[in-house]
Symmetry: C2
Subunit: 204 residues, 2 copies
């Protein structure tokens, strides 16, 4: 229950308040479950604090995290209806990002990933959201579809107070180095090891 007690007081010239308000860059990596689920839980909590949410899923399958998408976009509609929480946008690469016309030339996964990153970079520059989830974003970085150096430059110089959570296996040391919070989810035991298939409500 680590709340409120910092381990050291840094000599960075900032006040406690400035440090408290510093935007967070978090990375959830490792071979275990819970990377995306914990990021999603953080987004729901941020929504409750009035932070606007932008989720960007760098996955091919349109079905990935559809339960989370349903709930978070439902919370976004709840905001529109009642003013509770904050706005929510959920974008997925799937068969193509929503802001790219489906008959466009961008059908290649590498190009789609690069287009997704360009849009996120644009939104960060314009401070569009308060809280970004870049789900499974480590993979386009790992595969070189998006340049890690440029991502790090963009993230470390992002304006304002925008929180960014990146999930996926094999986060690079360079990315972890600039992150404020890095958690590795480690698989100790998984039902599929015992031959069980995933099930609705539990796995997705």
């Amino acid at each position: 229950m680590p709340r409120g007690v910092p381990a050291v007081i840094p000599d960075d010239g900032l006040t406690t308040r400035q440090r408290r308000n510093a935007p967070v860059l978090a990375v959830h990596t490792g071979d275990g479950k819970g990377k995306s689920t914990a990021a999603f839980g953080m987004a729901v909590r941020a929504w409750n604090s009035g932070l606007s949410i932008g989720v960007f899923q760098f996955v091919k399958s349109a079905k990935w995290r559809v339960g989370e998408e349903t709930v978070l976009t439902r919370l976004g509609r709840l905001h529109e209806e009642t003013g509770e929480g904050a706005p929510v946008e959920w974008h997925k690469m799937g068969q193509g990002w929503s802001w790219i016309r489906h008959d466009a030339d961008v059908t290649d996964h590498a190009e789609q990933a690069a287009a997704g990153w360009r849009e996120i970079r644009r939104r960060l520059a314009n401070e569009v959201h308060d809280f970004y989830v870049l789900d499974e974003f480590t993979y386009p970085l790992k595969w070189g579809w998006v340049d890690t150096g440029e991502v790090i430059e963009t993230l470390t110089t992002r304006p304002g107070r925008q929180h960014v959570i990146i999930t996926g296996r094999d986060a690079s040391p360079e990315l972890m180095d600039v992150a404020d919070l890095v958690t590795e989810m480690h698989k100790v035991k998984h039902p599929m090891d015992a031959g069980r298939k995933g099930q609705k409500g539990i796995e997705w």
Copy 2:
């Protein structure tokens, strides 16, 4: 993206469907963040699948996870209003479980924890919820306030199709041994190491 492809087909006499429908006992342990947040994310997803939720927080502070509590109980009210999702109950030890009268004798934390477990055992026997989160439950087990052997016996013989997620550091080998899914959240880097305090919307 581990969906649908089991690593081995077990020789347990069950059909794939029986195995798919087997209730899950999951443990989130380790020194890192995300244990409770991922359990909360799973609960939100389960809610979306129509599974009724019971959260039991084995913590002293009434403020712990108040954001999650707000959202999940809000989803419970949404179910009452619109029929979406499923019912939600959120109980916390805090200054005493809601089902125990506040002027009662149970003011000792060990006794409160034991009373919490007795209620969960009763609910499991009566199949009250579909999805249970026993948040920070490893601590009363570790401290001997609740008997690990009895918990394991109760969980491994629970009737019906009730999913149970247990969170907290230092889960015992005995508990992990009977769990279907064990994930260890490992802290690689934390903002408080750099002297930052937690902040609303991010840490709680």
